[in-house]
Structures are given as C-alpha cells and as structure tokens.
Symmetry: C2
C-alpha cells in the first residue's frame, strides 16, 4: 500500500491517529505532494492532524490556489462535523495549535460564520480566548512615521473592530507592542512609530481561559487586548464588549452557586427542563442529606422533647436565626473577597469583627425572643408555669446560635478558598444546613443546664 | 438697613433663605455692585444662593478678576463647610443648578481636589452624574475641516481623559454631537466636521442619577458619554472606568441585599462596627419576627406533637428543604430578571416551569426521605411500629413543601417588582422565612390525614 492509499484508508475509517502516523515521518515536500493528490476534503483532514511544525512546512510546498482552498475548507461545516466525531480529549492531543501565520491568513479569509467553525478546528477549546478573538485590527510597522501610520489607518482601518488601539508587529508578524491611538494623534507627524513604543503590551494566549482575559482587561484599563499564538505571533484581538459578556456570564455563575445550585450555563427560559432539574437537584440532595443530621440530633433529644414539648415549639425559630445570621456573614465575606477588599491573610481580623458582631446581633434577637415569651405568658398559660426558665433558655440559646452562625458563615469562605475551592460555594443554604445541626445541639444543651430539675 | 447690610447680616447668621430674599428682587447690575463690595467669602455665598438666571446675569456685571476669584472660591473647603451646615433638602431647594457656561469655566479652573468640593457646591447631590464628570475632553466646531480638527487634537488633546471620542459644540457651548475618533481617522483631511455628524449623541444630565449613566453606557457601546446642564450646554464627560466602579458598587448592593441585609455602602473592613451591626440587625429582626410565627404554628399543633413526638424530629429537615428549594428558585428568577431574560409578563411561563420543577425536585427529596426512615426502621425501633406511616407522612410532605417553596421563591420576585420594589430583596433568608410557616402547616396537615387513628 502506498502512503497515499494508507492515508486515504485512515480517513475513510476515521482513524486519525493512524493518518498522523502514516504522514509524520515523511519529509515536508513529500507530504505536500501527497496532499496535492488528495480530494479536497481529505486534504484538509490530513493537514489538520499533522503536528504543528510539519503542517507549516508542508503548507509551504502547496501551490497557492491549493493553499487558499485548504484554508477555506477549514471553515466548512462538513469538515468540522468529521473532526467533531473524535472524542474531545483525543482531539486536543491530536490537533496541535496551528502556526500563527496560517491562523492569521485563515481568519482573514473567512466570514464570521465560517470563522466560528474554524476556531473550533484550530483546536481552541470552548471557553478559551481563541474563540473570542477577531482578526479585524490595524497592524503597523515600527519603522514607519506617524504620518504614514495615520495614512495606513485611513486606508485600511475601515473594517477594524476598534481604532482606539493599533498594533505594531515585526517582519515575522510577531507582536512588538500595542499603541493607544491617543499617542499617534498627539505625536508630531514626523515622529517614528518606534519612538512611541513602550513595550508594555499585555498580550493574551489564544489557548488561555477566557477568565484570564477578563482579569487582564480589568488590570490593563484598555478596551482591547492582543492575542498571540505560543510563538508570540499576533493572530487576533479581543475587545471589551466580548469581555463584558464573559464577565457577566461569570457573575451569573457565582450568583447561582450562591443560591445553592450548580450554574445553569444557559438562560433560564431556554434550558431544557431535565437539564435544569438535574443541575438543581444535585445540591438540594446534598443539602438534604446534610440536613438529615438534624433528625438524628433531634432523635438524640427525643426524651427531653417528650418531657417538655414546649421546647419543640421554638426549634424552627432557633435554627433559622442561626442560618440567617450565617448567610449574612457569608455574603459579606464572599463579596469582599471578590472585590479583593479581604484576602486570606485577613481571616483573623474578620473573625475578631464577627465575634463581636455575633454577640451584638445575638443579644438583640435573644432579648426579643425573651420578651416575646414573657409577654405571651402574661396573658396565657401557653408556656406553662416555668415560662421564665423557658424564655431564658431561648434567649441564651439565641446568643450562642447567632454567634456560631456568624462565625461559621464568615470563616467558611476562607476555608473553601484555602483548600482551593470557590468561596461562592458557601451559599446561604449551605451555611444554614451547617448551622442547623450545631444549633440544635446548642439549644438542647442550654435547655439541659437551665431546665434540669424543673421541666427536664 | 441697606441691602448690603441686610445681606451681610443674613450671611453672619447663616440665614441663606433671607439672603436670597434680600437679593433676588434687585436688578442684576445692582447685585453685581453689592457683591463687589462684599468680602470674598461672603460674595461666593451670596452668588451661590441666587436663582440660576439671576446668578448668570449678575456674574456678567462683575469685573473679570472678581469673576475668576469668585469661581476659585467655589472650590474652597471653608465655603463648602458653611454651605454644608444647611440641611441637605433645604440646600437642594435653595441652590439652583449653576448656568452651564459658569460650570464649564469653574471646572476648568480648579484642580481635581478643589473640583470635588466644587461639584458639591454646584448642588449636584451625591450619586448624581455631576459628581462623576471630568472637564478634560476635546471640543471641536462643526465648521472645521478634519485636518484642522486633527491639528486641534494634537495641540490641545494632551490633558483629555479620552481621545476615543471628541465633542462638537456650537457658539453657545451647546452639545451638537459626539464623534468617534475612528470617523476622523478614516475621513479625508478635507472633509468638514459637519459632514461627519450623525446627531445620535446620547447625553446625560448632570443632575441625573449615576445608575442612568451605567444603563446609558451599556446601551450605547461607547467608552465615554457627554454631560450637559438642563439647557444642553456641554459641561463635562463621564468615562467608562468611573462607570464600571459605579456598576460594581451596585452589584455589591444587590448581593448584600440578597444575603439578607441592608447594603453596607462601605468596604467590610472599613465600616464602623456599630454602623455595620445596625445595618445587619434590621433585616435579622424582621426575619426573626416573621419566624416567630413558626412558634405560633408549632403551638397550634402542640397536642399532636405530644401524642407523636416522632413528628417533631423531622421538623428542621422538612422546613429547611422548603427554604433551600425556594432560595434556588428566587436566585434563578432574580438573576434572569437582572439580565432581562425574564420580564414581568413571563410570570406565567416561569410559574408553569416551576410547578413541574417543584414536583420533580419534591419527588426526589421525598423518596430519599422515605427510604431513609424505612432503612433506619429495619435496624432499630427508633420510629416505632408505625414507621411506614411516618415515612409516608415525611415523603408526601416533602413533595408539597418543595413545590410550595419553589413556587413562592420564583413568584416573590415578580410580586416585588410589580409593586415597584427591588426583586433582589427576596433574599434566600426572606424566602426561607416565608416558606417555614406554611411548611409546618403542610407537614402537620399531611400528618393529621395519614396518622389519624394510629399515632394521632
């Protein structure tokens, strides 16, 4: 079997690893020759699974019209569909990043629709910057004058997504620096572009996560950032409007986590019913299993409840107060962490604040609870002859439980971040569940001490 | 007493309403003359409490050096301190907006420090756009050529906060339009600026709320927006970085409300202890008072609990499940509303979705609850001989309560928005409290039906 036949066989059977094996040990010119003989669709598949360097070399040996046609094919849905059949992890292993210069040509050749398909084929995973970038920007050379640069912009800038920033590249298309348009506007026409460079460009890698772009844009204060391949070749830019969309999606994720569920990742009214139920059921079940410990704890105090049913009446009130104060504290700390007002090292300061806050809030709620029971007992016999002791039990328990809730709520985000988890996971429901069990133990513990000999 | 003396008296006694009365019926030239005679500090106070039109007229009658000195005084802390003594609402009534042309001169005259004080004196309330604007931007005339505009930018653009947008004004400094720099860059040098106008400028009023600016910037896709006074005179611009700060502060407010408290309005580690406790205690007390109804509800079923203490054991489990599912639903709907994925008119679609979701989630939790009790009962006598009926009670109650929680959580934000409140107020703790009381009624109601004749 010739290499030609072996490759075509491999393509027919969708065995891309075999296809790669059969080609990668040949010299580049030979691969070029073999590819010339292939039908167009097979050619693009062969090209796509070649290792990065080799693909670039083989590409050079193709005639110009076949080069163009090959690139155009990378934007076609049929080709995308075939490569999509591969398992995503296999695909990542098999598909190298394409050489930056090829990517560059490719993206400029395709319309936005085709481009969306092509970036997928380029091997950029979902949620990477590669999926966000646009090829419409202005490139300048450092040896030009400002005058020539402005003329170049006037002539070629029409399609550029932004003119607030322009980009200086060298002969190999490598990024040298970005320049704010303000610098060109304020400079004398005879100044050299080279003299305006500051070498401070923050550039993104196409294979990096989109969250990196959000962070970089926040720090840089720019409205667009350049994207390079791993060799530093400029292959696109990302603009602030796309970044804002990403940031908004992230915020939604955080808020949904905070509401006690997995992030939906889709608009509420659009997501399929069963997918939504699955995402919501997960955490609910976890919380439910945790909350079952309350039944165990209550079972532990069953005898006390039998003796003094009045104690059971205040259980919901007591545990919800712990949950509410905990959820407040968690919210405050999570948000302060997100705004970097509070870092891991501040845990001790936060804890000290929350001890006093918890005591203050607990005393307020405890007093109200005490007064409520005392008032009711003046006009009815609802809480029996020992109402004073019951009121005392409820009041003191509330101080302890609110303190405990505030402390757990404020420290849990620190613990989660410390072990590398997202602090936003310490949602209101999560904190409430955590506090409920201990709340019961505090309540019945206090009751045992105060009511021993009377009701218990 | 002469008018001169009456005014000085009024200033000495800090009676600004009287000061205004004594001046406002005089002709402008006479006010000008009286002001010339005053000591500098009194002059600025008198000027500041004059009605808008009259102040502008009187200003014209002052010699140039006194005009300049007057404006500079508006940025002085002592003057600010005196006007600050007035009650904020009186101040709003008394201090008219200053005429745009005066504002313009004023802001350009002062350094950033003084400017911060001056905008306060200009009568711009906290949280208005007037407090955000900067006077550093480039103004163009419509009768210029693009060439001249670019030269003007090169000469005068150095201090401008942004050059991404420039502003075209008429002879009276009224805003005609904003122009993206890209249009100037792409136009032929001989084109007239007038030919580039599109008359699409979105302008902000200095007296408007800062949230208006956030919304406008989101819609406009621009990185800076022009600010005018009520006559349309351009007095400043706001740039996207200031707007992002405002948007972030708003998000913090929403999140804190959602965590069940008043917004702190200050960084967590900076806010004074007692102010923080007060802001947190408010909602906690409201929730606590609401939660007291659970004690009433439990009291109502005291006899049943006495007969079947086993029922009390599951109370925390039952009510927390309602709270958790409600908090999930509320989070989803609030966020979807914030992103305008869901509007008021969608309430019926959301309700239909949540009925089925609630039933599905309830069945999952109900089954787990049932199985848990059944399993324990195989190995112990914890739940008595009627364990099957107890398990059934818990299982069925859970379906009802989770359904109820989901429905309340998802509908509450609609109700709040309908009556003009912020949907984010329907926080996880708020929903949980609401659901707790009804949850108890559902639970004991189901128990009465199923356990009648056996345990009850």
């Amino acid at each position: 079997m010739t290499t030609q036949e072996r490759s075509e066989n491999a393509i027919a059977t969708r065995n891309f690893a075999e296809l790669r094996n059969s080609l990668e040990h040949l010299p580049a010119f030979e691969i070029g020759a073999i590819m010339c003989e292939m039908p167009a669709q097979n050619r693009v598949l062969a090209f796509r699974v070649l290792p990065r360097e080799l693909a670039a070399d083989a590409f050079e040996y193709l005639p110009f019209d076949i080069q163009q046609e090959l690139l155009r094919s990378l934007g076609q849905e049929e080709v995308a569909a075939i490569l999509d059949e591969m398992a995503p992890d296999d695909r990542t292993v098999l598909l190298d990043e394409l050489p930056g210069t090829v990517t560059n040509q490719l993206l400029n050749l395709l319309n936005p629709q085709e481009r969306r398909i092509a970036v997928q084929l380029l091997g950029y995973e979902e949620d990477t910057i590669g999926r966000l970038m646009t090829p419409d920007y202005v490139r300048l050379r450092s040896e030009w004058t400002v005058q020539r640069a402005l003329e170049h912009i006037r002539r070629y800038g029409h399609d550029s997504e932004t003119l607030n920033l322009v980009y200086v590249v060298d002969d190999n298309e490598k990024l040298i620096d970005d320049i704010r348009i303000r610098k060109l506007l304020l400079a004398q026409p005879t100044t050299m572009v080279a003299d305006l460079l500051e070498d401070t460009a923050i550039s993104l890698k196409a294979t990096d996560d989109q969250e990196t772009a959000v962070e970089a844009m926040r720090r840089s204060d720019l409205t667009a950032l350049p994207v390079t391949d791993s060799d530093g070749v400029l292959i696109g830019i990302v603009t602030i409007d796309d970044i804002l969309d990403v940031a908004q999606a992230e915020a939604t994720e955080d808020i949904q986590k905070f509401g006690g569920m997995e992030a939906l990742d889709e608009p509420y009214l659009k997501i399929a019913f069963f997918r939504m139920v699955r995402k919501r059921a997960g955490w609910l079940v976890v919380l439910f299993l945790g909350e079952m410990l309350t039944a165990t704890a209550m079972g532990f105090f069953e005898k006390e409840i039998e003796k003094a049913v009045v104690l059971a009446l205040f259980v919901p009130l007591i545990i919800s107060s712990g949950g509410n104060s905990g959820s407040q504290a968690a919210t405050l700390v999570i948000r302060a962490m997100a705004l970097t007002e509070v870092t891991l090292r501040d845990w001790w300061r936060v804890m000290r604040r929350e001890v006093f806050t918890g005591l203050a809030l607990g005393s307020i709620l405890g007093s109200i609870g005490f007064i409520r029971i005392a008032l009711w007992s003046m006009f009815s016999n609802m809480y029996g002859e020992h109402w004073f002791l019951v009121a005392l039990t409820v009041g003191i328990s509330l101080v302890g439980i609110v303190l405990w809730g505030t402390l757990s709520g404020s420290m849990l985000p620190f613990v989660l971040r410390r072990v590398g988890l997202d602090p936003a996971t310490s949602s209101a429901p999560f904190v409430a569940t955590l506090v409920d069990v201990t709340g019961l133990i505090i309540y019945f513990g206090v009751a045992l001490v105060i009511l021993e000999g009377t009701l218990l």
